[in-house]
Subunit: 229 residues, 2 copies
Amino acid sequence: MKGISTTNTRINGSTRDFVYYTLKDQIINLELEPGTKISEKEVSEKLKVSRTPVREAFLKLAQEDLLGVFPQSGTIVTQIDLSLVEEGRFIRENIEKAIVREACEALDDDQLFQLETNIRLQELCLEKESHHKLFELDDEFHKILFEGCNKIRTWNMIRQMNSHFDRLRMLRLVADHNWSVLVAQHKEIFHFISDKKRDEAEASMALHLKLVDLEKGKLKEQYPGFFNE
Amino acid sequence: MKGISTTNTRINGSTRDFVYYTLKDQIINLELEPGTKISEKEVSEKLKVSRTPVREAFLKLAQEDLLGVFPQSGTIVTQIDLSLVEEGRFIRENIEKAIVREACEALDDDQLFQLETNIRLQELCLEKESHHKLFELDDEFHKILFEGCNKIRTWNMIRQMNSHFDRLRMLRLVADHNWSVLVAQHKEIFHFISDKKRDEAEASMALHLKLVDLEKGKLKEQYPGFFNE
DNA sequence: GTTGTATAACTACCATACTAGTATGATTAA
DNA sequence: TTAATCATACTAGTATGGTAGTTATACAAC
């Protein structure tokens, strides 16, 4: 039961979404560690809601492979599955390579400005060492690209598909490896886009999304028990 | 309420999944036409189950954008959204181009044989004019490629993301346009794979997934009311 | 010590009752 | 005739009770 916060601030209107976002946050941030056993009843009591919305939140999280539901038995926070991480990465790489090419043509001045602003904020996070915020800005950066290409639903799909990838990203930030590389790459991608250098932008993006890959093994050593197999 | 079958054969164990697959089938097959209004209570009575599993099936279908749920108001089968179709197609194209390249190396003899068998069956469907079966075989063909590359979950994700695309594919088959082109393309892709011609395979796949695109407008004219905007 | 079994304490699943919004249509007033 | 209001009949959202299946433990037999 450890880690389930009781702060009751509803982000969204519906109870179901409130439970969903609360749990997802805690899972991605690894406050709810992989392997932790949880139950509908337990969560419903902690969050002071009935079991129905909790159950529905569980279903959604199970679809993202963040929870493993075993009928009549129990529910656990899944371990990080490296082959799932790889599939997520594979999807992101191939989609975003195409996106970044399109972005070279599609982005308007306002969106380019948004990217620039975003990068500045990332640099600020480097100084302040606030990795949570950096995590969000990283997502935001990529999201802007998808918005510019009118493919926001594609982005949402990727986000759903990449929960395992996200937990690894979070680990990487916490483990305090070179954040600056990440920001530098964003910067590079931005410049290639605004210069409309499609091939370079694509290559840079591909490299960017291979970063995590390299650190997989290291992280698995550092945090065994978070991983399966 | 038209179109909601009452045959009570459980494919899967859980009531929830039974409801989910029943409804999804009917939506993709356009038995439940876009725009149709349905309600939890109505479906639960027809299928003789309680509202809870129906509700949970609704949630899942809503996540795939096949149902639009309006709180305290009602639920409808969504219209086919061409921009969603395009996003689905975009994803498939970029992922499957990468997959088919990998497939040139990754597929073993057994899997190549599976593809060959599949194509034979497709040809049979051409003669028999059974478009439902052809639809399934089409999916199966692509699925084999993903399996061969150890990316089955990527395929599942794509399937989820492509419900709108699927409805258009179904329309295309029903509207009885040249099915033989489709089968011929599968054949071509197969040969490029077994000959390990990566570039040609990729190009062929890209073309294959652009087919639907061309017929969009035609189908929209033929079936207005199925589409939004 | 090991194995088999009964049982008690869980679990998620499903059914149903209740709540609170929303749309609609009749009624009334202008 | 038109516009506003209220009653009513819907809807999905939430709460809760009961069921059937699983797991773990205690204890008996070997």
